[in-house]
């Protein structure tokens, strides 16, 4: 078999798996989103954009369509929370990654291991732990009461803040690791050169370390932002279903709401959002390479 043939046939198993597990399900979801709601749940095959229209418009009893912001608000909140989570992760990850990169070799491996440690425990358990921490009579409330700082406080749970906390906690390792990798690649002589050329710590961080770790930050941003858009556990457990994100909106449509086409339409919308984000990021990366 020639190299040329091998390149085609060697990829065949991967193509088959991709077709079965990626292309086929996505095609089904797209088809479902274009179908109509079945009388007893499920869906009837068809070709209609009603489900997409439902994201923006509400049908009243007379069959008139009126604009409704309720789902737009959920999409907006999802984008806002995912963006904020990414930003907070980046701000927290930079110093953490820097410290790990500067650590002596034998500590480095331990610290990297500790960063990945949460992944060894089920996600549900970890998010549940935050209920115990944030909840009524939870750790934080009890501590504050015990110190006499508060007598009566609103619940921390089931708020945007609770979801944000859960999201940052869940995804920060995915930011720390790529940022760590790019800081470690950084030539220490460049940092010395910056100090040597009268650059203070702040100047060095802003003008040398930050721009050179940007590729790691962008990779981390993709790894955090994209799963945040589709987060389900955090809004269900920490948002309590009161404040929805796209993830649990979709889940509700396929579950309790029994409106598969609408759930699929939101899922496709989410997918398009993710793809737009990734494409913008890829374009930026290519521009960067062109400059270098």
């Amino acid at each position: 078999m020639s190299w040329r043939d091998f390149r085609i046939w060697g990829l065949a198993p991967a193509w088959v798996i991709m077709a079965l597990t990626l292309v086929l399900p996505i095609a089904i979801v797209v088809l479902v989103s274009l179908s109509t709601r079945g009388a007893y749940g499920g869906f009837d095959w068809g070709l209609s954009f009603d489900s997409y229209a439902k994201i923006l418009f509400e049908e009243d009893w007379d069959g008139n369509l009126a604009f409704t912001p309720q789902y737009l608000a959920i999409i907006g909140r999802t984008l806002w929370l995912a963006g904020l989570t990414t930003l907070i992760c980046a701000v927290l990850a930079l110093p953490a990654a820097y410290v790990i990169a500067q650590a002596p070799a034998r500590w480095k491996a331990v610290l990297v291991y500790l960063v990945t440690l949460p992944f060894w425990v089920s996600m549900i358990v970890r998010v549940y732990a935050w209920i115990i921490i944030l909840g009524n009579d939870g750790v934080i409330e009890k501590t504050l009461r015990g110190l006499g700082l508060v007598t009566d406080m609103d619940s921390l749970l089931f708020t945007n803040g609770a979801m944000l906390t859960g999201l940052v906690y869940s995804y920060i390792p995915l930011m720390i690791l790529p940022v760590f990798a790019s800081i470690e690649k950084l030539d220490p002589a460049l940092i010395e050169a910056s100090h040597d050329l009268y650059g203070s710590r702040w100047v060095t961080a802003r003008r040398v370390i930050l721009p050179l770790t940007l590729p790691g930050l962008m990779a981390g941003a993709v790894l955090v932002f994209v799963p945040c858009l589709g987060a389900v556990l955090e809004p269900i457990l920490l948002g309590g279903g009161k404040t929805m994100m796209m993830g649990n909106l979709i889940q509700t449509q396929f579950g309790g709401g029994r409106n598969w086409p609408f759930g699929a339409a939101i899922a496709v919308t989410l997918m398009v959002l993710v793809m737009v984000f990734l494409m913008l990021n890829a374009l930026r990366a290519r521009r960067e390479v062109g400059h270098a």
């Binding site: 460049l190 010395e192 050169a193 040597d196 050329l197 650059g199 003008r207 040398v208 721009p211």
Partner: protein
């Protein structure tokens, strides 16, 4: 006239754990001097340079820059710039931006920075590359930009950490002349670190030979080469033959020794009458056949290495192997074959007696 001291290194010692990298060294470097710290790897020369830059601090001792103790100043407060071995140009900045970096940090006005950057690019003949990035340059061009960047703010002292070691031979030769010319043009004190003795001899006003964490000798290139202070210096700088010697008598700067080549009277360092010593005799100081003058010897050729301009011979004389280099003054001149008898001679004054 007393020359102004740019750098004073006083009793500087540095230990890494139990290893003593520097055992209390002291020397002064003067303004407008091309000063080289030369030594084998691990001799402490780079550590000293990094201490002057501020990247490392001594275990004890002080370093002064124009009379001020600088050890409590962080690197970015010291008016000292470094040309790094790897150049350490900022890969995400244009060459202009690389050169402007220090000036911006010093708070210069925009117009002044622009003028100085243009002036520096012109100085290193890189004006047409101003908007390029370091990755688009050759090794020699990067070297020039690293120099321009480090010199732009007119530092009190410029530190150069083996800056030529990454270049190929021809370029290295050309850069030596450029570096020397740059030092003369700017009048800035250069402190150059290298393990390449040829570089040091070629460029320096003075050389400080470091070995085993101590200053072995400081002097002009010809002093270091012709009048080595001790065996380490004679061995490290250039090539030499060491002959076992017994000191017969010492009279001031001169000593008489007996050697396998017969008695020799010449300049000495540290010889004591009656004590064993070494006679250092450089290969090019021994004349062969028609080039033979002085203390005459007869030997047999046992080895031969043709180098183009020179031929290096190994000659056995009285059971001692001597390395002799002969200038090939005539093209296709009569070559001496291995096994042939040969007439040698050296001027006793060109040899040196050193303590063993």
């Amino acid at each position: 006239m007393e020359r102004k001291k740019a750098i004073e290194v006083q009793n500087v010692a540095k230990s890494f754990g139990t290893f003593q990298a520097l055992k209390g060294v002291s020397f002064d470097i003067y303004d407008n001097e091309f000063f080289t710290m030369l030594g084998p790897s691990g001799c402490g020369k780079t550590t000293l340079l990094r201490m002057i830059a501020g990247f490392e601090s001594p275990t004890s001792g002080t370093i002064r820059l124009h009379g001020r103790d600088i050890l409590d100043q962080p690197p970015h407060k010291r008016r000292v710039n470094t040309v790094f071995q790897s150049y350490a140009l900022f890969p995400h900045m244009t060459l202009e931006a690389n050169i402007a970096f220090a000036l911006e940090n010093l708070g210069w006005e925009k117009a002044r920075i622009r003028d100085r950057v243009a002036q520096m690019l012109d100085l290193v003949h890189m004006t047409q590359f101003a908007r390029r990035r370091p990755a688009q340059l050759s090794g020699g061009q990067r070297q020039r930009i690293a120099l321009a960047r480090a010199l732009a703010s007119e530092p009190e002292v410029l530190l150069l950490d083996e800056p030529l070691s990454a270049l190929d031979l021809k370029l290295r030769q050309a850069m030596r002349d450029e570096l020397r010319a740059l030092q003369r043009a700017t009048g800035i004190t250069f402190i150059f670190v290298t393990h390449d003795q040829e570089e040091a001899l070629d460029m320096s006003d003075r050389i400080c030979v470091l070995g085993a964490g101590e200053v072995q000798q400081i002097g002009a290139p010809n002093e270091i080469y012709e009048d080595p202070e001790n065996r380490f210096v004679a061995d490290f700088i250039g090539e030499t033959n060491f002959l076992p010697a017994e000191v017969v008598s010492v009279e001031g700067d001169r000593a008489t020794v007996t050697t396998p080549l017969g008695p020799v009277t010449t300049w000495h360092k540290g010889a004591v009458a009656g004590a064993p010593a070494m006679l250092s005799l450089r290969p090019e100081k021994i004349g062969m056949e028609d080039q033979a003058q002085g203390h005459a010897l007869h030997g047999t050729i046992t080895g031969r290495n043709y180098m183009g301009g020179y031929t290096h011979y190994t000659v056995t004389v009285n059971g001692i192997e001597l390395r002799v280099s002969k200038r090939n003054a005539v093209s296709h001149g009569a070559s001496l074959a291995v096994g042939a008898p040969v007439r040698l001679a050296f001027r006793p004054d060109s040899a040196r007696v050193l303590a063993r």
